[in-house]
Point group: C2
Chain length 433, copies 2
Amino acid sequence: MTLHADAAHPDLVSVGVPTHWYNLAAELDQPIPPHLHPGTKEPVGPDDLAALFPSGLIAQEVSTEPYIEIPEVVRDIYSMWRPAPLIRARRFEQALNTGAHIYVKYEGVSPVGSHKTNSAVAQAYYNSVDGVRRLTTETGAGQWGSALSFAGAQFGLEVEVWQVRASYESKPYRGHLIRTYGGTVHSSPSNLTESGRAILAAHPDTTGSLGMAVSEAVEVAAANADTRYALGSVLNHVVLHQSVIGLEAVAQLAAVEPDGADVVFGCAGGGSNLAGLAFPFLREKIHGRSNPKVIAAEPAACPSITQGEYRYDHGDVAGLTPLLKMHTLGMDFVPDPIHAGGLRYHGMAPALSHTVELGLVEGIAVGQHDAFSAGVLFARTQGIVPAPESTHAIAAAAAHVADDPNEQVVVIGLSGHGQLDLPAYAEFLDGNF
Amino acid sequence: MTLHADAAHPDLVSVGVPTHWYNLAAELDQPIPPHLHPGTKEPVGPDDLAALFPSGLIAQEVSTEPYIEIPEVVRDIYSMWRPAPLIRARRFEQALNTGAHIYVKYEGVSPVGSHKTNSAVAQAYYNSVDGVRRLTTETGAGQWGSALSFAGAQFGLEVEVWQVRASYESKPYRGHLIRTYGGTVHSSPSNLTESGRAILAAHPDTTGSLGMAVSEAVEVAAANADTRYALGSVLNHVVLHQSVIGLEAVAQLAAVEPDGADVVFGCAGGGSNLAGLAFPFLREKIHGRSNPKVIAAEPAACPSITQGEYRYDHGDVAGLTPLLKMHTLGMDFVPDPIHAGGLRYHGMAPALSHTVELGLVEGIAVGQHDAFSAGVLFARTQGIVPAPESTHAIAAAAAHVADDPNEQVVVIGLSGHGQLDLPAYAEFLDGNF
């Protein structure tokens, strides 16, 4: 497969690992509002970001090119599990009594079991190019932390992860996974950082939040010249890397459904999973080749699109990050400790928020019980136990098509498997939520 | 791909889901010694087995056909994850400083994360054809129990699993997985059966064994007309079903290595994983198309091939099963509770034992520390965290090729992933073994 750097061509050929990432923003009439410096409130420049990110990622953060070539070594690592399968979920269709053709794009085949590796490998690569020795990051359920730990091992980088306490305590397996890849993991808030100590002093019993964990990781990166910070979602360069999901899915779907997708569902926490899947489908829409609806399924406990405000806000709880124009519940919002730890983020990627404002994407909030009901049905019919995050997209799609004979083509982003989240399934089966 | 029912043809074409299972025994000059009735010591007939197994599986147990067609519905379910990938492990090769070309046949892509689904789906199908309502089985680490639970869900069968206590207590996630698919799981020995109660009375603190769990599951199946028993390894029909692993691997390898494999490594507990991978490679050897060595990597704690006797023995601890001619440590052997729960079985598949006697397969015992060392190296280079069972094959292969410039072609059976075994990795990283 060759993905030409030419947005006028549909790239609907047989599927391999994409050669380029796709940057939807470059094809929109209105640009994404810039990130602002937290002090000056002026748009941040490359120099402002250099303390946190390597040059290659900073360039991608503000790129106006629609296609950016994937470095050979990154593509080589991708090829260890990519292209990820697009699976027709016929048994799930039968159980839903629907005429819809349901396809799941399954990212659980990656080494760590989720889509997070797509950006982790790219970020580790660009950091290694700049001579960085250590990466710090936050993680919720642990998908991102384990992905970065794996990626760091590929490029000889140390990886240090602050994991939200609620997940650190209830899901120890992903901490083990981080360590198996050679990384280290701390419960957040920790007493290793000023941010963490301040939060613990004020709220010693906090269950933690992604915003708190971001503050800790950013603080350590900013204070050490050989250390940079890696963010698992939200930012434009992360959304860019995840576009391999949708690029593959568009091509895979074209081989079996010539008219393309009618509706695309993905779960949205920070937004990169959904944007990665959906933006190549929106490319098809923009270029008039198909007309898909895109639905962002977010948790009812943390509904930034459906309940948040669209305004500038910090990405972390301590206000260390740039101000991002996004749908936000407020930087100090602490959601309930739902099992979908990866969806417990107060904001939504500026790139995705922008497409919501343009009417290209709409949000829907899904309750945890409904999400797991759909997840169990999916497991029993298709075998794959979905990540708790992914169950939100499955539930939204199931509600959309159940008992409807309409032969619409539905694509669901199955962002990862839930084998390390099985205690959550056990609690659901025990009737605890 | 079409796998012709013609042993004279190499089937080295592009890879899809095999259409037939392969039965090596039908191509050997000496037949596998028959199973014997535990009372009469005469070869068992179909009637003797009918209380435990459905007719389709009994026919396969004694089949003399080299190829048996895979039923359409079974093949359809296989296609949800098959063909499983054959991955060139270049980063692992580099770390080993070897000239060998190392390929791993990765069964972890199946819904439950292991090869066990290959036989589980087939067994559930043949039971459903005979009108069976419920299946009972044993499981060690839980790979087989969860596979059968998944398979039961596909055919509307209840599944009841007795899991070896050591694994039930140390690895609760696979019990959750069994329940997620709709099955039920008990710690074995349990007080639900006569066998279990007798063992508990004599050894209340036992860590359990596969032999004990077999006795419990067999007892319940034999006592209930609507219930049959399903065994996850050892028997000829299980070995047959697992041949899809090797059939795919031979064809996949032929596309990149025209001379085929030089050495094939697989872990061996009950033997079906290794036999499933290796027997199609032995077909190539028998027909003079290549000359692979086959190495069975077994745990030093349960070394049935390298330390056991080749004689008739029971498959379970209570003596309820037929007598099987196999390498055995004795039906009452209780291995240490090593993390590779799936390798804690006292005997070895008669079909595999037979090929050992014929000089087609040789055994090697691997210690747990060496196995996990190799597993961690594999995870850090290739991303995939191997199942503890699979680490034994990886360790044996690594020892065989390390620092050797010889460009030999090595195939390793990666029977499953170890994401549900991560506490074992944590213990290893903590230096506990």
